[in-house]
Symmetry: C2
Subunit: 394 residues, 2 copies
């Protein structure tokens, strides 16, 4: 096991009706003037925004608001938020929405106290040393941003997707009410589930040996998702299934299932180019990229893929031909993705084969490499995307 630090100080407030506690929580964590940051009309239409305002009002906390965050959140909205916060003397950001809204809030939180351009943090030109505190009321189980130190933002000019990470932007509290996710359409639900599973797989495929505890914890989250996702697709308002998925989404990404081992993250890196270019849902992009990545890197450690097949997908181990078991596991993953309505190839995603050179170039791998499981050069990324072009369930 590799040395590690695990630090997840966020207070998670989980369950029915818990959004009514947001005012008291903002107050507990020192906020006096809040920016309520949200996305489109659904939080307005559902009445959630009104409940949040009521709770803030009852706690005597002042607020201003800024809506309009879009999936793959844009830098432009963050500039707007920074300006508003400075003008209004905001000292706490409350995100009401999904991962995009939280990531946008994190951008604002580090931008407000910074003299330069907040984008510097996303291009590694500056390091985060201070940030406004953040709280979240989560409405989509997916990104895990409610318990993570990361933020991914898209620069509108050129549609470049870049990320930043710092413990300073971990939310102080996150309110997780599974009821709020019950109205989510099946496609978005499935995209979220795929993202959750991908967060685990990025950690599961590792070169670190004998990390049984994190292996098993990864498998626990994956098996939960395999059981619960089809249930919510079939019965959107099944509270228990929604609750399991929502908590799994947080556990998948606060790093409790990833400590002590190398992690990969190449599938996420490649997918960011797809959703950057096509503005598709991140989960949908992952459904196309990740199984193709698995096929391509499988021979780097066949037994690890066989372990996934047996322990996660319940395949029989083929002791004479472990490679067959490994392949079967990957096929199970694609079959599962298809069954929950996800695209699994370029055509289903709306991507084009002829864009591959552009995608690879924008990724900027160059002669360099990244990935904690298997390092990839530009040519490897091209090959993975080629597999993805006409991938199908066997």
């Amino acid at each position: 096991m590799e040395n590690f630090n695990f630090y997840s100080p966020t207070e998670f407030v989980f369950g029915k009706g818990r959004e009514m506690e947001c005012g008291a929580l903002v107050k507990k964590y020192g906020g006096t003037k809040v920016l309520i940051h949200y996305g489109s009309g659904s939080v307005v239409r559902s009445g959630l925004l009104d409940r949040v305002k009521k709770s803030l009002g009852e706690a005597g906390v002042a607020y201003v608001e800024l809506g309009g965050v879009v999936p793959n959140p844009r830098d432009t909205k963050i500039y707007e938020g920074i300006e508003l916060c400075r003008k209004e003397g905001v000292d706490f950001i409350l995100s009401v929405g999904g991962g995009s809204c939280i990531d946008s809030s994190k951008g604002i939180a580090i931008g407000v106290p910074y003299d330069g351009d907040f984008w510097d943090f996303y291009t590694r030109k500056a390091e985060v040393t201070t940030a406004l505190p953040i709280g979240t009321v989560l409405t989509i189980a997916a990104a895990g941003s409610e318990g993570s130190p990361g933020s991914v933002v898209t620069k509108e000019e050129g549609m470049l997707k870049r990320d930043v990470g710092s413990d300073l932007i971990r939310p102080r509290f996150s309110i997780l009410n599974p009821e709020l996710t019950c109205t989510l359409p099946a496609y978005q639900t499935a995209c979220g589930a795929t993202d959750i599973m991908a967060h685990v797989f990025e950690r599961y495929f590792t070169n670190t040996k004998e990390v049984e505890i994190t292996d098993r914890l990864c498998e626990a989250v994956l098996m939960t998702m395999i059981k619960e996702t089809p249930r919510v697709i079939a019965e959107p308002s099944n509270y228990e299934a929604r609750a399991n998925i929502m908590w799994a989404g947080t556990v998948a990404h606060n790093d409790i299932v990833g400590v002590g081992r190398s992690q990969d993250w190449n599938s996420h890196m490649i997918e960011h180019e797809l959703s950057g270019l096509y503005d598709c849902a991140h989960g949908a992009g992952l459904a196309v990229v990740m199984p193709s990545w698995m096929e391509y890197v499988m021979n780097h450690d066949v037994m690890r893929f066989a372990q996934m097949a047996v322990r996660v997908w319940g395949c029989e181990m083929n002791f004479e031909n472990p490679e067959a078991t490994a392949k079967e596991g990957i096929n199970c993953f694609r079959k599962f993705l298809k069954s929950i309505g996800m695209p699994i190839n370029f055509a289903e995603l709306g991507a084009k084969e002829e864009d591959i050179p552009y995608l690879v170039e924008t990724l900027g791998v160059g002669d360099g490499v990244r990935g904690g499981f298997m390092e990839l050069r530009a040519e490897d990324v091209t090959n993975i995307l080629k597999i993805a072009v006409d991938a199908k369930v066997r």
Copy 2:
């Protein structure tokens, strides 16, 4: 799933050599004058105490020290610590040892700023509202106190074992270096492993339905312990196995595997009377009590015990007779405990059947009941202890 809060703000600093960071960590969390609290000679002999002092010295942090904590830590030592801290103006407690040492430190931490008798907190006469900050350098994987809000202390007069819980006594940081546990004798290692597994089982046996995510996380920790414990018994200095067990011990008790469900804790409650009376190791007491409790309560939910048998112990499901599978799982647990050198009945523990009435009386169940899986009356506790008298592997 039940509504819950999950809050685990401790910074875990895990791996080889990490104790050398304790000075910087104390400083980071605001300590300027430290009480180094430790147990017997082993931390002195191993040189650990010197390394801790060196690290504090390098960080410019002053310290006083108090050793002599014993297993089932006593109130008398805590009174001594409180007095010393007040006299010396200590503002941070650094525990260097196992769970007993941490629990004693927690007692001191809440006692120093309190005007009355610290024992009030353990008898529910007072509620914790403030405490000195605590850090730990862990030397035994067992109690999980390094990441928990709890403390269990024994009142020397009458050997009463009582507990307290508060987020205010969660350690600010905990340093977990598995190397420090490599010299631990096999018996203590096995006691620790039993305690870790018991912490999971107390959460696993629940009346809350459909909490797949925490079920699976519980099973992940248990399967890790089943794989790794025999390895460290056979090869005491196997770092990887020690590391898996050490992290499993923390995960087992910071409540990540227990949220959203009723929890039982009757086995712990019953065991506290055994270790109170006989001063035996807590893990050893649990090895005797817990499988007997399982036998007694099994029919309350046979399918849950069958699930444990199949998913945790790898038993084949007997579809015609689930009860047989459930029983087989419990037998596997006893067999496992015996294989790692644990006692499984009264004689092996050094307990006496004629003490049962006293044990039940001290427990003070009276007409009342406790336990989130199955409520127990005094007569039930008697029956469980009677099963434990001559329990054996089938």
